[in-house]
Symmetry: D2
Subunit: 261 residues, 4 copies
């Protein structure tokens, strides 16, 4: 059984910025997908923002077990219809991993219901990630801490809901901390946010970072069949109640009528 | 110090349905506000959907410590701009309580990031609410369980994120259960969902229900000053880093540049 | 890769009570283990309270990936040393599932830090379990609700900490509700509490109950190596600090001294 | 209405160590209590380990709304009976705040159900606490971050259960991070852990630290009457079931019999 991963790349900096192009000549999404494909249990493909429907067609989502999202400069260019499509797929059971600047992507904000804001500094400073949940599957095979010599700083307060679990917390040389690995569930879908990955540094070539993403894919994957209509609000008629009851009192809805939305 | 509450009423059924008009001649919102105003620490006013901006002007929100929302038939008529205004006020620190069919209201879905769906039946059946978090402030003065002889059924699975705390769980005569009292935090704002309150039954005249809503107002209220810009993502320049660091490596942003959204 | 399960049986009622002996002639633990062994990925064995060290030797725990615990009448007879042994194994990464009346077992109370109390009634009434977390792995292959025609009632408030996730909530014919499936993490170990299983009813022969227990075994299993000393509190000497720091100010401990416990 | 606080001091270092005695001539507990007593809504007294029953008599607990606990060197000398007394008071509704090295105190470990371990270094290094939950009442009046120039380092992984909310995360000059402010509920009682306070530094004279402790007292305080028996597991006889049910099937317990523990 193979986990089908789709890596979504914004794919702008790679073409506009020489440094990014130098580190990720085939795009950040390809580097991430290539690393995942070294695991025999994963089959990762890529789509980019410039594809039709940003590459996020209904067919593609139906064939995706776990979606990985990296965006930064062009958050605002992602169409709202695609955002709703992603949200619906997550609610129906697709796993999703948001990387770094995707904290401000439309689908992440849509699923969190919060501003998802933070403070930041681009100084190539040292980041050290500390494990805060021992033996968490997302940390499998990793030491209690690991370093990225050059990273962008993200600082607290991070404007997200309290997670199910805080898996990593980052230390920054300039004096800040950040909750760097956070798990959520939205509808039937598992959600993981992972902080590292500024585009001007070779973060996605780092073995520990690649390991976290691979672990997160396995954690987020849910083999259960997708829920057909994750927003359904079915009426249960009185005559098919599980316990025998008699209808009482005044009613607003006629029999068989749909509920309001 | 008085807690300023605004009760938002959809105010449609009260004018279209004789039964609802009979139970709530001045509107459900007025019944809720009147009950709150019996407490000397609360000052509750009402607005209705038909008011300009649905009554949710920036000035009104600035003067509101806790917003209470009841809607059902006309969820779709609430403007998206007002929904964003409510969300921003919550993120900045306003408390908010969603009642019954407001599970499908736009602001609740906006803040949860999930479908917020459930199953339902309108049969006037018995509901019994059980306390699941002992001595929770929202349950102050209440017994371990209380009953509503006639209510609409809402059944699990309820499509919401795992809450901070589950405060009440409901039993229904027809065989279902429902997590009836759930707490969340979104940005700086406290959020409470409370299930009872179908418009064709006198639920908001019930003393226990009124007590829960009053308790929830006090729980949701946060005396801290509102956060001015709850979505701000400030850049921290290298030269003002809390620890002395030297800028290293390539940069994407020029000095003083705003981040992408 | 096979998950090694140990089913711990109190093994008292089966010998003292004809009804229990009739339903579980080889003991409840054997019924549970036999059901698990039908899955090719699981290898389940049994131990009973009457064994040396209640069957919970250090060697047995070292060979156990997931421990299942059923006890009722003889909670007080379990030695405190064995309770600590179990707690240490969980903290080091062993999964553990507590069934039904094990809510009052010593190891469960030890791991929860709360009274774990509830209300109860032995009337053979109908219990209906509702799923509250869609597509949760512990509910894999199960419908949104299932029934046990005869069960003991457990009622809220259930004196446990707020769980990571509430997976099931039960409805009882006599009017109560109960959070029937709850997940926790304690140290590196996953913990699941599952309510059904009164000894005078054939609950552990029920296919849905067996499915939940099998799913929970797979959920609780953590393939990571056990943590050698889950209570270790290592001193990090100044000279091996990850960032260069200079010792400042007065000290309580001499160099190389152990911390206080 | 005044919140009655009892500050428990281990009171050993203050008599054995000149540095500690110099910073806290009347004991750390007295410094903490004096700071609290500057607030007109709080009445704080102190007890010390050397008092009869360590000062924790049933009468004292009955008169305590919030207990504050600081211990380090003599954790092992605290009697288990007193630990159970404290746990019972918390379960019945008393608030409790554990400070710094009390992470290894018996009552904290008892309430958490985990090892509560961490890494540590005594180098007088800089600690900076960051707020992670905006406008949390425990952070009222505090900036987004504040510093303690000299503190002992505590590092992750911190062996505690996932909290209800993470309120503070600390940055240390030597490269570690730590979840420094954590909220829990145990039974009916609110629990807060707050990291700073090594005895050889003047931490409890710091205005921000004093403010956190005062805020935490107000947060932990629950005005509801204490639960008389927080471990009670009442039987609900069939004839007094809330819904009419008929007893069915075999029974283990005779009518009116107590449950097993």
């Amino acid at each position: 059984m193979t986990i089908r991963v789709t890596v979504w790349g914004e794919n702008v900096h790679e073409h506009e910025n020489e440094i990014v192009a130098g580190i990720y000549p085939k795009g950040m999404h390809t580097t991430i997908a290539d690393a995942l494909n070294r695991d025999s249990g994963v089959s990762a493909s890529t789509v980019v923002m410039q594809d039709t429907d940003h590459g996020i067609t209904p067919e593609k989502l139906a064939d995706t077990d776990v979606l990985i999202w990296w965006g930064h400069k062009a958050h605002g260019e992602v169409s709202d219809a695609v955002v709703e499509r992603v949200a619906n797929a997550v609610w129906s059971g697709m796993g999703v991993i948001f990387l770094h600047s995707a904290h401000f992507s439309k689908p992440f904000k849509r699923l969190m219901g919060t501003p998802c804001n933070l403070s930041w500094r681009e100084a190539g400073e040292r980041e050290r990630l500390w494990l805060t949940s021992r033996n968490h599957p997302i940390a499998a095979g990793l030491p209690d801490h690991f370093e990225l010599e050059n990273e962008e700083m993200y600082g607290e307060p991070f404007g997200v809901p309290e997670p199910l679990e805080t898996v990593f917390v980052s230390w920054f040389a300039g004096g800040e901390v950040f909750r760097s690995g956070l798990t959520y569930k939205r509808g039937a879908g598992n959600v993981f946010y992972f902080r590292p990955g500024h585009e001007t540094y070779p973060t996605y070539h780092d073995a520990n970072v690649q390991r976290v993403i691979l672990n997160a894919v396995k954690w987020a994957y849910n083999p259960a069949p997708r829920i057909a209509d994750p927003s359904a609000a079915p009426n249960v008629p009185v005559e098919s109640a599980l316990e025998p009851i008699v209808e009482r009192g005044p009613k607003l809805h006629k029999d068989g009528e749909e509920g309001y939305r």
